[in-house]
Structures are given as C-alpha cells and as structure tokens.
Symmetry: C2
Subunit: 302 residues, 2 copies
C-alpha cells in the first residue's frame, strides 16, 4: 500500500509536475491535489490533467492531505508554508524538494511550528521549467536525499522514503549542512560557472555573438544548456546556499589559477596529469548509472 | 566529381577515422590511404576496414596522394609534416584538422616549404578518441573553418572547401589568429574550466568521491563528460593557443569575481539579470541547429 493516500503538490513546475505524473503512473490509487501561485500555471495544469484536483488557494489544497510537498523556488518556501499553516490537518506530513536544505528547514519550521517536517531533495532535473516540462520517470535511478532534523519521528521519515522509492528514486539521508556542501560542488558551482562563461562569451567585442553560436559545438554549447536553467530558481539557490557556494568557488579559483600558471609556463606534464586524473570520476559516474556512456551525451548524429 | 581522387589521412583517431568513414560514405570512388604512428592503431584500422590501404610509413602513405590531411594532436603536426616532406608528390595539397591554427600553420610551413597548404578545423567532436570512435556523420551540419594564409591559390582553397562540404560540413573562412580567439572562448576555455572543476571536486576532503559521483546528476556530470576528453590533445591545445586562452581566462575570472561579489552581498537582481541574459545564446544555438532542443541533451529517461 502507498504510504500516503492524499498528496498535495504546491508549485506545479518541473519538479511538482513530475511528482504529480509520477504518482499517477506509480501510485494510481493516490489522490493528487495541486496548487500554484500562478493562475496561468493552474489553468495549464487543469488543461493537461496533471492532478485529480487543482485548488484555487493554498489553504484549500491542503485541507484533506496526508502529505504536502512544497515544490516552489527555495526563496519562496517560507511564504508557501505560511500560506498553508492555518489549514494543515493534524498528522499531515510536510516535505519539500528544495535544492538547499539548511535555510529551507529553518524557514519551514518558523512557518509551521507544529507540523511533522521531512525535507527532501531529489537530485534530478532538466534545464526546463513549468508544468508541461515534467515527466513521470524524472526520478528513476536518481538519488533523493532526506535531511530530517534530529528528533524527527522515524515512522514519518520511513513513509517519505517509501514515497520517493515508489517514484523510482534511491534514498540517502544526511545532515542538512553536509547536503548543502555536497550540492554546492555537484550542482550549484557547475551552474554558477556555466552562467559565468556564457556571460563572458556574450560580452566579448572581438568575437561576435553569431560566431559564438556558430562554433559552439566545440564544447561551449554544453554550458549553454546548463545556463538555460530557470533564473528565479538559481538566484534563490545562490542567495540561500551562499556560504557553501562561496567556499567551493574559492577552491575552484585557486585550482584555476594553478592551471593558468601551468599554461603560462608551458608545464605540459601538469596539464596532462590533471586531464588524466579527471577521467576516473567520469568512469565512476557511468559505472554507477548516473550518466550514459554514449558519446556526446547520446546526441543523435544523422 | 569529388575534388580529390586519392586522399591520405595521417593520424587515425576520432577525427581521422571520421574523415575516412565520411569519404567511404559520401565519396565512394575516392581511394583512402591511412597512416598512424601507432602500430596498434594501424592494426585496428585494418581490422575494421577503415581505409583502402593502411601504410606502414608516413612516406609510403602519401606517395600517390592528391590530398593529405594531418589528423594528429596539434603538438605533433610539425613532426608529422616533416615525415612526409620527402615523399609528397608535387601538386598534392596538404591540409590539417588541428584545433589551433596559427602555430600549426607555422609548423607546417617550416616542414613543407614548397607545398600548397590549406589549414582547416572542423568544429565537431565527441569526448572519445581512437580509430573506433569515428563515424561518417560527425561533420554533418557542423562548421569547418578554413584558415589559408594570404596568397594561397584560390583553386586549392575551393577544392578543400568542396571536400568538406561533401563530408556534410558548412564552410567559413577566417584569419588564423581570429580563429584562435574564437575557439579559445567556444571550445578551449570550456574544456579548461570543466577539467578544473572536476579536479576541484576530486580533491575535497569533506565531500567524498563517492558522494560526488552519486549526486552528479545535479549538473556536475555534464562537466565530467567534457573533462573525459583526450589528455594529449588538450595539453597540446593549451600549450599551443596559450595567449588567446590566457586572455579569455582573464575575462572569465573577472566575471566570476563579479558574480562572487553579487552572491556575497546578496544582490539577487544582478544574478537574475545575468541568468536571464544567458538564455538568449542558448536559443540562438538551438535555432541555428548547433544543438538539440530536447531537454537534458536528449538523454533518454525510462
Ligand atoms: N529544476 C531542477 O533541476 C530541480 C531539481 C531538484 C530540486 N529543485 C527544486 O525544486 C523546486 C522547484 O523547482 P522547479 O524547477 O520545479 O521550478 P519551476 O518549474 O519554476 O516551478 C516552480 C513553480 O512554483 C510556483 N510558485 C512560486 N512561488 C509560489 C508560492 N508561494 N506558492 C505556490 N506556488 C509558487 C511558480 O509560479 P511562478 O512561475 O508564477 O512564480 C512555479 O510555477 C525549487 O525549490 C528547486 O530548487 C529543482
Ligand atoms: N577530438 C575533437 O573533438 C577534435 C575536434 C576538432 C579537431 N580536433 C583535432 O584533430 C586532431 C586529432 O584529434 P583526435 O581527437 O582525432 O585525436 P586522437 O583520437 O587521439 O587521434 C590522434 C592519432 O594520431 C596519432 N599520432 C600522433 N602523432 C602522430 C604522428 N607524428 N604521425 C602519425 N600519427 C600520429 C595518435 O597515435 P598515438 O595515440 O599512438 O599517439 C592517434 O592515433 C587534433 O589536432 C585535434 O586538435 C579534435
């Protein structure tokens, strides 16, 4: 039996709509209610039949829920939680999917002093956003990290873990501050760097934008995909996970300076050693099913 | 009629083997001879029937050619050219596919003082290397940049352009120093940054390698693909295109510092503006057919 029977998803973007679709596909008996602050998103959700019901207020959406999953940008988590505080049934579990866990946990606790809260972060996504970009298999084979505060009811943790397993995810548990440092290096810093280099390329005077586009197949285009991710989501992530991001950025800058010196002084061996070392991590990722071995990300070439 | 009837490919790695396969597919009457410094690569090339003939010396491979394409790492171009100097037929055209054009042009001219040289760079590739990684359609819809020195016979340029068009590429012509700056931003810097961040991630003490691998789907895995590219090729590129790479790196570092400040001081608007601006370039790349619009690089999700 599914661990919940009435799930409410608040924020019907990429992640929220993927959860809704995943429930439909994998837990067909569970009733899904959706809510989004945007009337346009609610209309779209109705038009594409994303949920059993799309409510017109946050309060109404949670009134009968036994699980509420907040899927709004990290900076909006506190406000979204405050909106449901008055209508949340006793005994309902609240979870979220935010990309940063420490600050979100604090915001949720402030808004919902009484609720059982089990924060989660499914490490899965694409560069798209909005209710039409979700799909049921987004979480298959990906990790979902739970970061329950100390003292959280173990039964509640188990139910949320069970929920994510049924959506296809594997479960890991860690402290929120450790989560934020791990994700700073595996997700936040890569996005920051991608945004930066795409910005640098668009600001050059001597190389035109049209040249950048034409010759992007040399590697640059892969960065533009990442840098096409949602601006609101990522602004919130960097403002929220500031300390960890700045620390990882500091390390990265030091390493980049070392590489710059190696190039300036013609130290081919240093370059070669690093370029060889980095292949091992790639192998690990492919072996553990976190990416495809097909070359060029499996782009089709006809 | 194809512009050449006897083509020799020297260096049977990703690019060389893709050219050989492309000729077989698109210019079946053209005779292809191959040569590689590595006996193992020559054996593989024979086993997979890559060329009509695989010669056992560079000199023998070019003796009857009307086009010789050098497909060795940038740092080996001069040596590869010197090896064929004594056997190159009068009237044969020499070309190369090196990722940097200024230094390679100088090296080729020194080794082959008499030959007609039309340097080229097909902006296409994957992260794999070796004779078995090539495929005939690698150059389809990609740009091939010709950088003939001033005074090059226009008829020779036309023939090389025709050759690449038949392999599916579109042709652009530019000065070698401009090429090197354009590619520094669209290809060399992205690779350098990807290598750096993968290195940074593997050196952290508080985040284990296994965590980096597990949670790589948050963005990091895309960098590991780029950082899995051939170490020899990329060492040579950075040593050879040093000035342009260092200059672009300087710009990138300044921009990264600005972003770092914005994060430190909580300037959400600055972040949001940059993250919005970078989407335009992505749209250009997709519209002009230089990448797929499918989310997540078209990775399949089942
Ligand atoms: N995308 C990823 O790769 C990924 C991966 C893992 C986790 N996450 C996390 O998942 C969350 C959602 O991301 P997403 O990619 O799904 O974003 P998204 O596609 O932009 O969807 C977010 C939705 O939430 C709505 N919203 C904003 N504030 C709200 C509020 N107070 N109440 C109700 N709805 C509200 C937004 O409406 P408006 O557009 O009108 O503001 C939007 O429709 C974020 O916390 C993100 O950090 C994302
Ligand atoms: N890969 C890309 O994405 C890409 C794109 C555009 C242009 N390029 C350029 O294309 C060229 C080849 O790159 P690739 O990716 O095809 O590399 P690759 O797969 O590593 O192949 C290079 C081959 O050349 C052989 N070789 C080295 N020195 C030689 C010499 N003096 N004579 C004959 N053979 C020699 C190598 O043998 P050993 O392995 O025994 O040394 C190897 O088999 C480089 O100049 C690169 O900059 C690459």
């Amino acid at each position: 039996m599914p661990p919940f029977s009435r799930v409410t998803v608040i924020g019907l973007g990429l992640i929220g709509s993927s959860i809704a679709r995943g429930i439909r596909a994998r837990m067909p008996d569970v009733c899904v209610t959706g809510y989004d602050a945007s009337a346009e998103v609610r209309d779209t959700a109705r038009a594409i039949d994303l949920c059993d019901t799309v409510a017109d207020s946050a309060g109404a959406s949670v009134a009968e829920a036994d699980l509420v999953v907040l899927c709004v940008p990290v900076g909006a988590m506190g406000a979204a939680a405050a909106e449901i505080a008055g209508d949340l049934p006793a005994g309902a579990i609240v979870s979220d999917v935010g990309s940063c866990k420490q600050a979100v946990a604090t915001a949720l606790r402030e808004a919902l002093s009484e609720a059982v809260i089990v924060p989660a972060h499914p490490v899965a996504g694409t560069e798209q956003s909005g209710p039409e970009s979700g799909f049921a298999s987004l979480f298959h084979g990906r990790w979902c990290i739970l970061t329950p505060p100390e003292g959280t009811d173990p039964a509640a943790i188990d139910r949320v873990a069970d929920f994510w397993r049924r959506l296809g995810a594997e479960i890991e548990q860690m402290a929120p501050d450790h989560h934020d440092r791990v994700l700073a290096i595996t997700s936040h810093l890569p996005h920051l760097i991608a945004y930066t280099i795409v910005g640098t390329a668009s600001d050059l005077e001597e190389v035109t934008q049209s040249e950048v586009v034409k010759y992007s197949a040399g590697g640059f285009r892969d960065f533009t995909r990442i840098a096409a991710s949602d601006p609101t989501m990522w602004r919130d992530v960097f403002l929220t996970n500031r300390e960890a991001v700045l620390e990882m950025l500091q390390r990265f800058s030091e390493d980049l300076t070392a590489l710059q010196r190696a190039i300036r002084w013609g130290k081919g061996d240093e370059l070669f050693d690093l370029f060889t070392r980095t292949r091992a991590i790639r192998r690990g990722i492919v072996e553990q099913g976190q990416d495809d071995a097909k070359p060029d990300f499996g782009r089709t070439h006809e």
